[in-house]
Symmetry: C2
Subunit: 358 residues, 2 copies
Amino acid sequence: MEAFKDELRRVGEQIGEFIQNDPFPETVRPPALGDAVRDYPGRGGKRIRPALVLWACELFGGDREQAIPAAAAIEIYHNWTLVHDDIIDRDDLRRGMPSTHVTVRDYAASKLNAAPEQAAFFGESLAILAGDVQQGWAVERLASVADRGVDPALALTLVRAMQTKLNRELISGEARDVEFELLDPSAVSIPDVMSMINGKTGAIMEFALHCGAAIAKGAYEPKSPDFVALSRYAVNLAAAFQLQDDMLGVFGDEKVLGKPICSDFQEAKPTMLFLEAIHHLDAAGRARLDSCLRLPRYTDADVAAIRAILTESGSAETVRNSIAALSACASAALRQLPDNQWRTMLDTLVEQMLVRSV
Amino acid sequence: MEAFKDELRRVGEQIGEFIQNDPFPETVRPPALGDAVRDYPGRGGKRIRPALVLWACELFGGDREQAIPAAAAIEIYHNWTLVHDDIIDRDDLRRGMPSTHVTVRDYAASKLNAAPEQAAFFGESLAILAGDVQQGWAVERLASVADRGVDPALALTLVRAMQTKLNRELISGEARDVEFELLDPSAVSIPDVMSMINGKTGAIMEFALHCGAAIAKGAYEPKSPDFVALSRYAVNLAAAFQLQDDMLGVFGDEKVLGKPICSDFQEAKPTMLFLEAIHHLDAAGRARLDSCLRLPRYTDADVAAIRAILTESGSAETVRNSIAALSACASAALRQLPDNQWRTMLDTLVEQMLVRSV
């Protein structure tokens, strides 16, 4: 446990320092765009995704130093999707600080004397472009493993995997999530939701692990048993994490959540929790649940009512069981891999992500 | 002349067919996003940028078939920047058809019954994501030259050049252009404008030529004389083209233009034409010119007044001389390169782009 936390802190420091010293954003103009490009990747956060790269590399006896640019690349890749997501989801905060489009908007208003509407539009425009530059940065940083002794042909293969499999799965997941908002939530199927989760959360974890393994092994072999085991670990971990997130969003403590309680109901999101409930409710129960969607605010009584419906319908228990099963599958996948301290790190990550101490 | 037009038609057919049959967008979900990803690259247009790749490859005796994926990659790269530009510039038309964000908006309104505001937001969100997928597609397509016998190390080098030099220069050019809109146009310097033009238009022409040359030569050597000559050609051609565009925007025929006459004045854009004028005008002339900015519409009398000021100040002549000088520099740069039919194509392109028959 202490070893896990120390190691995660070490990853955070290594990746933070590497990104801080990365010259890529320096020549971006105007300076406001360069600052926007540096912003999220420099903010820290838990650095789980780069940790997956480094641990998978060490798991197979690879050289951690070779994998550091790849780990930074995954972190930058994750961050460009966040910059664009925050525009799309109209989120004004990211890790407790203003989102990119808000920071640039405020800069335009205060330094360029832009009128409010003009400043907001400028903020969104530069945030779109900042994410675009960051995608380029991520590709270049992954390719640069070739400067640390990785075979250029393997570096090219990794870049191609990132820009085909990861790019399409991740953005398709995001697009489905956006589309869900326009649909009646009960019209969405559970497989659709699981596929969306896998795209938005699982694909990048899987690719992070594959990158680290490929650098250690000198080959990217997504169909080989070790890679398949890493995929199973990633997909199950990501799904467990997302379902746990949905549970906390209803049953958790608003003070700890960092977002309003029941916000998924406010946005009428088709979560597993919601879909399981409607499958088990009669017409009257269904009507009660539907009446809890899209309320302007959620009183204690509303929250209590939602919790009661989800509990009585058996939905909460079903989802809790799914989380346990998915976590067990993630851990089971690890048992086919070399037994060393890095496998222990990955195993500890499963429990830590679910208790949310990381 | 006929040979030039035939060859450009041939490029259009080859690239159009290649992109049409490219499986990359197939697995993108939901289908509305996949359609958006295919849309612009499939629309045709003049295919000047892919022509530059193929002609530079043939110029140095390279195998055109090897360069075709790179030519398609440049076209896709250009198109993702257009998708995002059209959101940023609020352009609802592209090549005479609805822009991506408009197409998706109309789909959401008609097929998903979204309310107008919701449909517009959905259109912009999916257009952001479509450009993001297209950037990935362009990288993968360039990397895939390795499947046609190009050394993987060279393919990696080309990908890195695209995602560092081209990505940063092109997007920085776009961001400067967006920033100019917030500034007093007279506060922008001529070097700033030329640097913006080079980023927005010159960088991708330069990279297209370098890609073709690198594939032919088996090496990417941006500091070697051949590459430097191609850079000089590209930078001068792009600048001449942009200045010509500015001239036509004021002195051209609205019916041919495809946009309202004097739209640069309406948007208070700091064009060379405008900046040259204010440098030569006294306070009274300057006030007259300023009074022509941001008018709700431009009457024949307004247009005549603007033309008179630009002519009397000597600005129109200065810009016309610059276009001639830049075109001559572009052609001169070619004289250091092998003298064959492909060099003739590039030379013919200079005149054709300026008379705008292409």
